[in-house]
Symmetry: D2
Subunit: 318 residues, 4 copies
């Protein structure tokens, strides 16, 4: 039994920053997320149409990278099924936590590369009131037209030294499907794109080349239109944000993309997949070879070097 | 047990036309679908990134409207569960058919208003070869940049004299969820938007005001960008196609839309929902009141009269 | 001698408002202009890429409508030629003024319908410093991504009881060319679109149907893309701005448009003409008949009633 | 006397191709120009909203590059003024020719680098009839939605070994203004952007680094929207066209661009400048330094090597 369907969607990502104020300014004023709440250690952020209270938890730290990754289960029963599967899997279990400002009790566990995951069903939905009230009642909150202002959390990308092993983890624990992957000539998997629903992917894992452990590659929010991303490029330019690469279109997943680094160095993406969805229940994984990849991105852009080497936290030279 | 999850997605719509050649010319050259196959009575059409062999079956007829609606099940087991539920439901069952050019055996049944549905799992996927081979292997076929060229089938809209009853039918037979609805002051439901997956809707049902039975309101394909729809408006204009209303944005579902009539009079839409998805597993139905609806569409456009009265086939004056 | 070429471009419009604070908030926070300076009576506004210090002078008043319209001459010599032509024309001359915060000495005169015009060459260019410094030095100032944030002033529209006479005024005084016009069945001109350069129009005049005198129909800024206007529609919606009509595409001039009313009731437009320019030096005026106009706007939208009757200041019932 | 204003606009470019059939197929089916006429040696092409009969004359040749460049004068008198100025300038004069299928008598002359120019007033305007009749009478012909389908000719780019000298040529002969330029650290001008009207540029000249003479860098047509260019990128991809660089945004002139090579190797661009125009009659040339240029294009893309070296015809190794 695959478990596909037990997990509803990627819920939130906790990002660590050692430049908390600058990072928070970037995410609220430039990238255009909304601040739901702030504690001494963390800011709880969300896109204007994210229905949950928080999809990006920004946490003060002495380093950068990812704190944990939260997925919401499809039902209380589905949550129990996943917990049972995880407990039986042999992967490292951290156990239940009481919850956080943005969700109820959650079950935490780890992948073999040190990334912390949690799954939960009880959540805190954002209550749009006052200045947050949307003009259209089917939106989670008011479109605040601030900065890039993406609509919702889309996906994240992790690094691991063994993507084949990471794949087994995702299939076992979350029931994720692999929609696309890179098959290297050396027999290894170069990258895998996972989904638990109709999105093309909610998590990607690519091979770690920097010798790091538990590292983070990027987190991505979705915009409604590609034009929103072109406009965002100007916003980043005018605000002195480091644009790493893009806008361009990925061959893999057809995603129109733009990558920048937030002030602490974590990579952040804006992406638009158009109307593309994975609706086919027996979708066959698309396999990209090294020869395919040599063509560059969809329109020929060569992947720049830092994209292969930069992850957070940075790996210290010995 | 709700049955949600048993059906994967809307698969195809059969549209009847009494002007077959003109309709086929419209759908291939202007609207921009691809012709997969043609028999003496029907043309099997699909958008360039529809993975199935056919999503619009255009059939010669002495009338217009909808022939039948096909949904694909998530698995053979899920199909059996749905068949059992339908058989126990008391709705009119037509039983199994052997299949068609575009899918295997299918189970047919009817809603109380005369629309024919079928569900199936075995399908015919489009094999992209020769001139249809896409440059990017994760696309179902080559982007042929002909006419409006939408990416995929999105949804259809049916008319019924009792939307509350139609809703019971959709929930019982397909396990559909209602994401949004119109609650009239007279206690009736004015319209319901249904989904079986993460799309905001794959089928809408609005109240029949013309005295017709089993009528069809429109079928819709999704474009990647809103700009595709603005461009399509010029294409329709230059090709003498009747533009009924739009482009504008629906308040309900936030969909950017454009409605035209194909040569035989069937209403056809192009739509773009941006990055909007229904990811929340316990999404609460959004209820629009008559007072809400008086504000017009999202940006204030008043719904034009023909939108309330025109369906196919037209109702003959007695 | 036509005088075409003597005037470089429309420079600024003075708009009167009896709700100064609300109007200023609208133009800066929602419409997205920048405030260059403010005096006790006026705010000097400009779009982020307008090179002059002010293109919209917003002035406190006990009424609404247009204060005056400024055009910049192509050179000091061209200015003198125009002044001479105007003085010889018999149109009402107000004479030279010393200047304003946003330009040097200017020559003022009136059309027969009470609108005040001025022409000038000496101007005040915006000096982009500090937070206004653009990332790209060929922009007039930083793209501030606030509200709709159009790029530059585009055109204005005045009402007159005799468009034929208004046309003679524009040709005589400014050397304007008529690129398009509406020829009514009754022999009158329903509207004229004028230009002094390669833009399709910088001023339109349409027939006054409300019995007013010297009234104003709207002022328009240009956005880079049509998507900017769709996005602006959401911004207006979320900020409670009255959207009168649009977004849609004008048949005349092919302009993609959106009309709203600023808080005091003055009509304001956002427009995008794509790459359309009038490059032909012997362009023949395009004449639209009433029959043409009955087709509605480019994609069929019917012109709403208020568009024919609402001007500022409103005409008081007797 | 500057002569600015005497020339109305860039009229047409003659491109040489040693793969005539392939080039013609590219320009009509993929790039989306319309064929006005064809002779034994040339195809006369135009964009759908170009008012002249031909803006790209594609000519069979044993080489590639540019045949000649045509500019249309603002009036017969302006043409005479320019001819006189050119004759007095000392630049090489070829003299009057009778005309071509696309224009009347023209005066031909050469820049010091071997590029042939001609100026003319009498032209052949495109008569839109039959299937070319546009739905909107203010368009030059029907929007045919074929391939990339740009709206109009925009500019071309030539190579010269001495841009300072080329600049003198353009100012003297055409009265062109320099809106932007690159000032190299070695004192030379790296590139100049010229205009005769309100467009930011109609001709650019950049320094020849390949040792060629009279070479051509690219010709460009303008699209209405940036989205048209993103869509075109997919069209080029699906048709096997070599995409050299882009889509991205130039820092210089703010132009959103995409460069491809037509089958014979001539570089062709699609560009969109948004609403940007040069309206200021005393616009001061924007000077970009080498330090500025090191930042890459507007959003950081590094200029690829071939952009500096590839011109047509190719320079043969000795």
């Amino acid at each position: 039994m695959s478990g596909y369907g037990d997990i509803a969607h990627l819920g939130h990502v906790e990002m660590l920053t050692d430049k908390f104020e600058e990072s928070l300014d970037f995410f609220t004023r430039v990238y255009g997320l909304k601040l739901s709440a702030q504690t001494e250690t963390s800011a709880y952020l969300r896109a204007w149409d994210d229905y949950e209270f928080c999809t990006l938890k920004l946490t003060k730290s002495d380093t950068t990278g990812v704190g944990h990754i939260g997925y919401r289960a499809a039902s209380p029963e589905a949550l129990e099924r996943r917990v049972k599967a995880i407990e039986e899997s042999g992967y490292k279990v951290r156990g239940w936590i009481e919850g956080d400002l943005n969700h109820g009790r959650a079950f935490q566990f780890e992948d073999p590369f040190g990334h912390v995951f949690e799954i939960y069903f009880d959540t805190v939905k954002f209550k749009a009131e006052g200045a947050d009230t949307p003009a259209l009642k089917n939106n989670a909150s008011r479109f605040h037209h601030t900065g890039a202002a993406p609509r919702r959390l889309d996906h994240l990308n992790l690094l691991s030294s063994d993507v084949t092993e990471f794949r087994r983890f995702m299939e076992t624990c979350l029931g994720s499907r692999v929609t696309e992957m890179i098959q290297l000539d050396n027999g290894r998997i170069g990258g895998c794109w996972f989904t638990v629903n109709n999105k093309g992917y909610d998590l990607a894992c690519t091979e770690e080349h920097g010798g790091g452990h538990g590292r983070f590659h990027h987190v991505t929010y979705a915009t409604d239109q590609r034009e929103d991303i072109l406009r965002a490029a100007d916003i980043f330019l005018e605000n002195g944000v480091h644009i790493e690469t893009g806008p361009h279109k990925h061959a893999i997943q057809n995603t129109f993309f733009l990558y920048v680094w937030e002030p602490a160095g974590n990579r952040v993406e804006l992406a638009n997949a158009g109307a593309r969805l994975i609706l086919d229940p027996d979708w066959e994984t698309v396999v990209w070879t090294e020869a395919d990849r040599k063509k560059g991105q969809a329109w020929g852009l060569k992947t720049i070097e830092s994209f292969h080497t930069h992850g957070t936290p940075p790996v210290k030279a010995k």
